[in-house]
């Protein structure tokens, strides 16, 4: 019963919190309306997100978030350096193929988003069976090392989180 009313409890919580933050001042009215949105929106969008992902390692979520924030800062400096001081023809821009070990759609989406936000890489496509990511790297002199970094740094943790 509760699972049918709240298909994604975490999404409900997130939507409520976001609505209260949007109001910028917590009041009974904003909390109530936030809760209303938090209940109605997951119900309306359930056909697009039928199954509930299981978070196996909540501590790793925080670790992952901090790691990604740090990597975004580093990546920004790196990309700024490449743009300012490297001639465009010296850049080793190429497509990389990242084979995926995880089978959970939520983990793949998170990985693709992380890749886009961090070290000189943008994820462009996924293989039709969802088992490999197509990634474009701005400067990857050693493609195998770049793929290994992505797998070790991000996918290993996502595997811990989503299984």
């Amino acid at each position: 019963m509760l699972a049918r009313l709240l298909p994604h409890p975490l999404l409900t919580l997130l939507l409520t919190v976001v609505w209260v933050l949007l109001a910028n001042e917590p009041s009974a009215g904003s909390v109530l309306f936030g809760l209303f949105l938090g209940v109605v929106l997951p119900l309306l969008t359930r056909p697009f997100w039928p199954e509930r992902p299981v978070i196996r390692a909540p501590a790793t979520v925080i670790e992952y978030g901090l790691l990604v924030l740090w990597d975004i800062c580093v990546a920004n400096v790196q990309v700024a350096y490449l743009i300012l001081f490297k001639k465009p023809e010296e850049l080793h821009s190429r497509f990389l193929v990242v084979p995926l070990d995880t089978r959970v759609p939520e983990a793949i989406v998170t990985l693709a988003g992380t890749i886009t936000m961090t070290p000189g890489t943008v994820s462009c496509d996924v293989s039709a069976d969802g088992r490999a990511l197509l990634v474009h790297a701005l400067d990857a002199p050693d493609p195998e090392a770049a793929v290994a970094t992505i797998k070790r740094r991000y996918e290993r943790r996502l595997l811990e989180i989503f299984g």
Partner: protein, 138 residues
């Protein structure tokens, strides 16, 4: 902003963050101008500008903390929405580019029996009843 040493330090921190943020914004825009291919240009707005916007948002939070003494959280929301939308935008641009430039032949092979989803739509949804899950489950 209040006077005194604390006020000065606050002002200096806000100013520094604004300058650093603007620097990364301008580098991102410069990259858009300088890099030759579309796939390379895609890197500038998804990265260099993230830190730029981040710096300016933190500066804004600090400024309102010092002037009104209250914590403003709208900036955190902007960061959240940015992190949600930037990868989707980049993905849509890349996909459109792959179609328009007809790059199918130049992409590396998937290492799988099927092609990339952009060019191989039939295989991506083998069973309409299986929802959004790809083949053979977990």
């Amino acid at each position: 902003m209040s006077g005194g040493l604390l006020g000065f330090l606050g002002e200096a921190a806000v100013a520094l963050l604004l300058i650093a943020g603007s620097f990364f914004m301008i580098v991102g825009s410069f990259g858009l101008l300088r890099l030759p291919s579309l796939m390379q240009r895609l890197h500038a707005p998804t990265k260099a500008t993230t830190l730029g916007v981040g710096g300016i948002l933190i500066a804004s939070m600090l400024f309102f903390l010092f002037t009104t003494g209250r914590v403003s959280v709208h900036e955190l929301l902007i960061t959240l929405f940015l992190f949600l939308t930037a990868p989707v935008t980049a993905y849509m641009l890349a996909k459109a580019h792959l179609h328009r430039a007809r790059l199918q032949k130049e992409l590396p092979p998937t290492g799988r029996p099927v092609g990339w989803a952009t060019f191989d739509p039939a295989a991506s949804d083998p069973d309409p009843d299986s929802g959004l899950r790809p083949t053979d489950g977990r």
